[in-house]
Symmetry: C2
Subunit: 338 residues, 2 copies
DNA sequence: ATGAAAGCGCTAACAA
DNA sequence: TTGTTAGCGCTTTCAT
């Protein structure tokens, strides 16, 4: 593990430490030949600068952290990619940190801000705002991606998200417009996440506006994954012949799990039960049947996140809340009911 | 961004820096009351230790790095999770680093070993062995996950993988056993990756052993993603009525893309074309039709990786190559042909 | 039980 | 153009 240090490179090359430092960092005022010689020593001995020491010294970095909670959420991939891409175009450096579903995102963020001296943090997934007191410890500006920061008093917290209420409202409205009156909802724990609550409200209100009473036994609670969603819908269906003709799933992944369950129980999608998803992940266009879904504009979300965090770092637009529009992608998992 | 430092905590608490350090690290030999007081100051002022400085000082860590190339490969998720889980049970600390598909994994690894002072590195994805010279720079023991390190002379490189040749052989054999004689192969660039080459050889040899000539026009080249696979198969099918009854895809994701293409072209899976995948990702059991696939034992792979890297760090089993068995998961995307 | 002091590898004034 | 030097925040002997 004995990596060579700048000191030794200097000694071997017969120059001073600062000269080596200059070469490493491509600073001006270095003789061409000296530079050549140092480069050669570096190459030969495989010297690698110790970034820890560099960071320690420099006191500040250009790092913007992207803290992703939930490694296996396909909805996040294109967002992470795009944010990275956008930040890379600037003078800032994107640093993606994935943390476990069970990890504490606020603690991670605090650590990040301190350790990596992140100038700003973009949160993707999780529910950091749920712990406002701990959150207040973070001094760096924060941007919440796909989660609204409306409920926050924290001035350094911005957000970029869709109007979950309205999106869910539209999704259910599409179902109703297609003649469905008996609609089930597949979502997360309503009290655990604002996001879930908003989508639930949007869906239920839409139902009510059309004079449809929503019986809570048609709210199917599940985690945001394939297996759990499949199990939940299987449970619902195995009780007997379903008396609903459409299902609104709060994520595409849940929709996939639900469709599997419906198929396994001997029903057809969409002929017997129509399904609409949420997110608009890539797989939705490849699944069979292809999945009708409320698409969140992931590219735009990413773009705005990148822009906003940089503005925030410069002290501009702190606490700004950006709300984007969703778009329904009509495919073949919803059929007209007469 | 002005985080308080250990020095200031010491001053405020009226003790020395070392005492504060002792409290932070929970070392013995600190008076209860002193500890109390220091803790209080830390709490009150929101002091967070600077991990950069700590790492710099400590010269060595307990970090084991997991370097994942290709953020959107669902096959990797459970492996990463399990490796993390296993390492967490030991005194070592797992550190997952995701790098872009276009990034240089060898450079990243070198940087990692130096910067984070990783004791060992587990590689997931990419093809680091393709650059042996640069790779030799890494002094920390390395474990290649799901890629064979057989071709390497490097003594510090171990690997945990399946026998790709044999697995592909079995997959195609299953197709043949089901009466298929005309089989297409969907894979990556054969010369770019040993893994692709091995699977190709296994498939082709199996065909030959059954007296079937493989016409290279039925080798469909594509990247390992949905879109490209779908496009490639669409191209193949739009040429005219397919004269093959089965397809072997080198990854489940590719299989999904292929199935979409087949369906879109008006054919049925498996009635017109049977499809077998590779990897055994979770989604394969939810897709429609459910996907028959050669499952790589991801849990076991992860487990062995974790064990091996720790042994390697201790100087044991350096360069060990572990080869695991795949298992065919029979579902409904392959049908008997008479 | 506590403190003083020597660095970890690097950068950035300031000198030369 | 190059070298000298003072730290960055922390851990860790070694004294006290």
């Amino acid at each position: 593990m004995s990596t060579i240090t700048i000191r030794e490179v200097a000694k071997i090359a017969g120059v001073s430490i600062s000269t080596v430092s200059r070469v490493i960092n491509d600073l001006p005022d270095v003789n061409r030949q000296t530079k050549q010689k140092v480069r050669q020593v570096i190459e030969e001995y495989g010297y690698v600068p110790n970034a820890t020491a560099k960071t320690l010294k420099q006191a500040k970095t250009n790092i913007i952290c992207i803290l992703v909670k939930g490694i296996d959420n396909p909805f996040f991939f294109p967002i992470v990619e795009k944010i990275q891409y956008e930040i890379n175009k600037t003078r800032y450096i994107p640093l993606v940190e994935y943390i476990d579903e069970s990890a504490d995102e606020v603690r991670s963020a605090i650590a990040l801000a301190a350790e990596k001296k992140a100038l700003g943090i973009i949160f993707l997934g999780g529910n950091p705002l749920a712990r406002p007191k701990a959150f207040a410890r973070i001094k760096a500006p924060c941007v919440m991606a796909t989660v609204s920061a409306n409920g926050t008093i924290q001035r350094h917290v911005s957000s970029v998200c869709v109007n979950d209420y309205q999106a869910a409202h539209e999704a259910v409205n599409y179902l109703i417009a297609n003649g469905h009156r008996h609609i089930a909802i597949l979502g997360g724990r309503r009290l655990a996440h604002d996001l879930v609550w908003e989508r639930y409200r949007g869906a239920r209100d839409c139902l009510e506006e059309h004079g449809i009473d929503f019986d809570d036994k048609y709210y199917v609670e599940s985690m945001f994954n394939l297996k759990d969603a499949c199990a939940a819908i299987t449970r619902l269906l195995s009780a007997g012949k379903p008396d609903f003709s459409a299902l609104f799933a709060m994520s595409d992944i849940m929709a996939f799990g639900a469709i599997r369950a419906i198929l396994d129980q001997g029903y057809r999608v969409p002929e017997d039960i129509s399904v609409i998803g949420f997110d608009g992940i890539e797989m939705a266009g490849y699944f069979n049947p292809t999945l009708t879904t409320m698409r969140q504009p992931s590219e735009e979300i990413a773009q705005h996140c990148a822009e906003l965090i940089i503005q925030n770092i410069k002290g501009e637009n702190l606490g700004k809340k950006i709300v984007l529009d969703t778009e329904i992608i009509i495919r073949s998992s919803v059929i007209k009911r007469f």
